[in-house]
């Protein structure tokens, strides 16, 4: 009774069949065994998943600047290979930074609640957990201080509001010497390019996560003293400005 199917497999082999029947059965069996052991999940050999690791473990450890410079250089190269111009390149770098901003926001709050130190709250109300930023100023202080310290180990250098009455929705965060640009020298024909667009993307992610619709861009503004001085222009959307007015009237801080 078993003869015809065996014959069929023989034929398929002789016809150049890809997988012989017995082998296929074996692979199916092993797959079934694997899926029984761990349904859709690969557990590391030491049985420690990401849920077993402590989020504050790497809190005070520092990363190698050299490896960061190398990685970031590769990211810029990767982005440049697929773009048409400087603006497009900056947009890509921005998009790479955006998801990082969303993640950092949660991590930043987690770390400041679990230790309940005054690391985050600019108003230095220790013990109680920090509040989510509701107003533009609190959000910008969060970026200028705690976020910058988390990323670069120091606060940003300046935080300004646009003086022009036409653009009340524009704020500027200045970094005199952005870490991401330390080892980058743009060619002459790309002098407009600022790779800190990546950091601009991170800022955008943080603002968006908090519920503030924003466009952030990075601009070169070199001075005698600081040749790679960068200004991050933060432009809030109209709905944010409207809400800001409502909240101001309601007295929310």
């Amino acid at each position: 009774m078993a003869a015809p199917p065996r014959h069929a497999t023989m034929q398929s082999i002789s016809n150049g069949g890809i997988v012989p029947g017995t082998d296929r059965q074996q692979t199916q069996q092993t797959q079934a065994q694997l899926s029984q052991q761990s349904p859709g999940l690969r557990v590391p050999s030491n049985r420690k998943t990401i849920y077993d690791r402590h989020l504050n473990r790497s809190r005070n450890t520092e990363l190698s600047r050299a490896s960061f410079a190398f990685l970031f250089g590769e990211m810029v190269t990767y982005a440049q290979r697929r773009v048409t111009g400087i603006q497009d390149l900056e947009k890509r770098l921005n998009e790479q930074g955006y998801p990082l901003g969303l993640r950092l926001l949660d991590l930043l709050f987690y770390r400041s609640t679990s230790t309940s130190s005054s690391a985050l709250s600019s108003s230095s109300t220790s013990s109680s957990p920090p509040n989510r930023p509701l107003r533009i100023i609190t959000l910008l202080h969060l970026i200028h201080g705690p976020l910058w310290r988390l990323l670069f180990g120091r606060a940003a250098d300046a935080l300004e509001h646009s003086v022009s009455p036409d653009t009340p929705n524009e704020y500027m965060i200045t970094d005199n010497d952005p870490m991401v640009n330390t080892y980058i020298s743009a060619p002459r024909d790309m002098s407009m390019l600022n790779c800190a667009a990546y950091v601009a993307g991170i800022i955008e992610g943080v603002c968006d996560g908090c519920g503030f619709e924003t466009k952030v861009s990075a601009h070169n503004q070199p001075t005698e003293l600081w040749p790679s001085r960068t200004v991050f222009l933060v432009r809030f959307g109209d709905p944010v400005m409207e809400r800001e007015k409502v909240l101001e009237r309601a007295g929310v801080k």
């Binding site: 859709g40 999940l41 990401i50 949660d106 709050f109 987690y110 509040n131 908090c210 519920g211 929310v252």
Partner: protein, 213 residues
């Protein structure tokens, strides 16, 4: 009614003879917990019951088995209130924000800084008469044993969904889930708005529910 009586039988079997004095089926809450993305996509949900004070950790909602979608319906209808409360209260834990009286459902909310919403619906079991927290506490004080004091503390969580003890228990639960949520979010293979499928995460949430609620 059938569900409530079943609850009484099973939990009295666990607790033994003491439970006849202080009917423990009155103390068991049912919980429905869900995580919503900033764009209202459900990322995770789980139903469980009280585990403290001899509870078996199984949810027994007032709706029949065929109408479990009512939980989702009630919990999602509180989103409007949440979005209002979001801009007046800067805390992450917003406490008890909404009540749905027809089902005696209470909803507590927790907002992550990046905009994900944790919502917990808690519903006391269907009470046969007008018995409430006062009767439960009274009978436990009559007992006056060590076993009853632990049950009294858990009964204060279950019997009064807006008491400070309940708020604190829910806050602890939410914080523990938040920690695990951050761990999920930090994974490079997780993008914001993706469903959380990790069985480890589910186990962790279940454990947090057992620990605090």
């Amino acid at each position: 009614m059938a569900a409530a009586s079943k609850a009484a039988i099973s939990s009295s079997a666990v607790l033994g003879s003491i439970s006849t004095l202080n009917n423990p089926s009155l103390l068991k809450m049912s919980y429905y917990f869900t995580i919503l993305s900033p764009t209202d996509t459900p990322l995770f949900n789980i139903a469980f019951g009280t585990s403290k004070g001899g509870g078996d950790g199984i949810a027994r909602f007032r709706f029949p088995e065929t109408a479990q979608y009512m939980n989702q319906f009630i919990i999602h209808s509180s989103l409007d209130i949440l979005e209002e409360a979001q801009w007046t209260n800067g805390g992450m834990y917003l406490k008890h924000i909404d009540t749905y009286p027809p089902a005696a459902a209470y909803i507590s909310a927790f907002l992550t800084p990046s905009g994900a919403r944790f919502l917990l619906l808690h519903q006391p079991p269907n009470l046969p008469s007008s018995t409430s927290s006062s009767s439960g506490l009274g009978s436990s004080s009559l007992l006056g044993t060590a076993g009853s004091t632990t049950r009294a503390s858990s009964s204060s969580i279950a019997a009064n969904p807006t008491s400070p003890q309940t708020e604190e228990a829910v806050r602890q639960f939410m914080n523990e889930v938040y920690e695990n949520y951050v761990k999920t979010a930090m994974s490079p293979f997780y993008k914001q708005g993706m469903e959380i499928k990790s069985p480890v995460f589910r186990t962790r949430v279940t454990a947090a529910g057992k620990k605090w609620l």
